[in-house]
Symmetry: C2
Subunit: 328 residues, 2 copies
């Protein structure tokens, strides 16, 4: 029921996902049953045997305070969906709703994985020769060096088992490339990470993010969130300016027609829709936060990532890797 | 002698600046005299009465450690140029050299302004409806809340007296818009700033940077540096992809020709060359750090900003505003 286009887009995406991903044995739509049934009726024959509707009476609004949402809106679609994961009735949750509330509900109800102090949001971002994982993209602020080590281990498992990179390179986001450069947090995380079994490649500066070697870049959630939102905002501004300028007169408009393919290719490369939203790593269960303005396609990608995360046992891998690290 | 194209570009820019900015009563080129004279000879008649060459024998390399550069390379162009400001023989220094070394030399030799604990790099960035100042863009890391208040006062003076905004709006970079959202640093800075005389508008999230109301956005130098470099890197990647795609075949190439004007307009809007580099605010003297890869045009802009900073008495304004704040 959350996000900008609920329940229409989530219901549409659910139907598409059931049709395309046979690995989904059951998809539960949690929310107002009447509204959901109405939306379902728009999509012809749906695989009803694999679809359930779980009726709830409340909705967490985008402006609700996270903790209040969890405490006061116990029968909200979001809280109930997390409950289903907690009870083992579901393996994963995908939500386009209030980010803070989803983080709060997930960490409070599901608790963190054994050995994990803090959960972190992992976001897949485009770079020149592929993609990389940025984490924490904003699950918590004022992280400690140990937290960044956990993020690295979790990001490594994500990269290896979901993104299928055989030997992911891990970097620490910093304002200088050499050891000893950076905030106290970054420097201490560097020193801890070089003694872990991950393939640690040192500091990654801002200008190496989109054109550098790192597959996973770890940072405090404050920095990650500011960075992610700034990049999104800047991309939006750039494309808005392009659109304005390219349609400013007829000559440019005809030029723009001829170059359409170029923009389509770039859009495909940098389009967040195919990357499946942000994965909250470190909790007991798979939790995916889709963008509030997610398209049906983006929500479908989130559902695909949820399936892959369950199938490829990302969480068991994380627990195993952390346990190995702690015993080193 | 620093930066990617020294001494050719700095000398060329100096000649241009002398021709265009009559307010420059004397421009001192600090570096290897022979090389500088050779470059000068390429530019026809130069206003020799307003030009001096100050011979130095050493060069701070881009890879030199900042403190070592200051200690060991006392006769470097950079150190001598800062000395000239310190001695009152110059009002301002423009350098495209090693950032860390310039910061170290400036803070060690010039010391901070009365009432300022830490200097900060102020960078002018484009936004949809104009420009804004981001600071600190990387002069120091692990700032304290008081430092962010100083940055706000300094940024305000920059904005008001150099960028000619009558009532600059000041924001704190954060990962949420409401009070109480953000890192400990951001939250404490928020609480201090709301009681200062600056026009404080609260938290600014990443997605409001390029499309929001703030004229000055303050943050820790770690965050500012990572942000600035990421944005630069992302812009570079976008334009590189555009170029590759727009020249991929003849149809697109002809389309690109027709849309040339659009790209020129956007380039002009977002081009850092006209913004004059980063101003190190908070030291006794005007210090401008131009990008290492600065064009002649960008170096000229830096010289223009130097002139404006001196003429408009940015530093006296900062001292006055800080003194007023402390007595409140």
């Amino acid at each position: 029921m959350g996000g900008d286009f609920a329940p229409a887009y989530p219901v549409h995406a659910a139907v598409e996902a059931l049709r395309n991903f046979r690995a989904i044995s059951r998809l539960i739509l949690v929310g107002d049953e009447e509204q959901i049934r109405r939306e379902l009726s728009r999509h012809g024959t749906v695989p009803a045997d694999r679809l359930r509707v779980f009726h709830t009476t409340q909705v967490v609004a985008m402006a609700d305070s996270p903790v209040e949402a969890v405490r006061r809106k116990k029968d909200s679609s979001m809280c109930r969906a997390v409950d289903l994961v907690k009870e083992g009735a579901a393996d994963a949750i995908v939500s386009a709703g209030n980010t803070g509330a989803l983080l709060a509900a997930s960490t409070i109800k599901l608790r963190t994985l054994a050995g994990v102090d803090r959960a972190a949001l992992a976001v897949v971002m485009p770079k020149r020769d592929g993609i990389f994982v940025l984490m924490d993209a904003g699950a918590s602020v004022d992280a400690k060096p140990d937290n960044l080590v956990d993020y690295a281990i979790m990001g490594e498992a994500y990269c290896r088992h979901l993104l299928r990179k055989p030997d992911p390179k891990i970097g620490v986001l910093s304002n200088g490339s050499e050891r000893g450069k950076g905030s106290k947090l970054a420097c201490e995380a560097y020193d801890l990470l070089k003694d872990t079994p991950v393939n640690f490649i040192g500091n990654i500066e801002g200008h190496d993010l989109f054109d550098g070697p790192a597959d996973v870049v770890v940072c405090d959630g404050f920095v990650g969130n500011v960075l992610l939102k700034s990049i999104e905002s800047m991309a939006r501004m750039t494309f808005k300016m392009l659109k304005e300028e390219l349609t400013a007169n007829l000559v440019r408009l005809s030029g723009a027609m001829l170059t359409k393919g170029a923009f389509a290719t770039i859009h495909k490369k940098v389009n967040a829709d195919d990357h499946g939203g942000a994965l909250l790593l470190g909790v007991n269960g798979i939790v995916i936060k889709a963008h509030g303005s997610s398209s049906v396609r983006a929500l479908c990608s989130s559902l695909r990532v949820a399936v892959e995360a369950v199938d490829n046992q990302v969480n068991p891998h994380i627990i195993e890797n952390l346990a190995r690290l702690r015993n080193l």
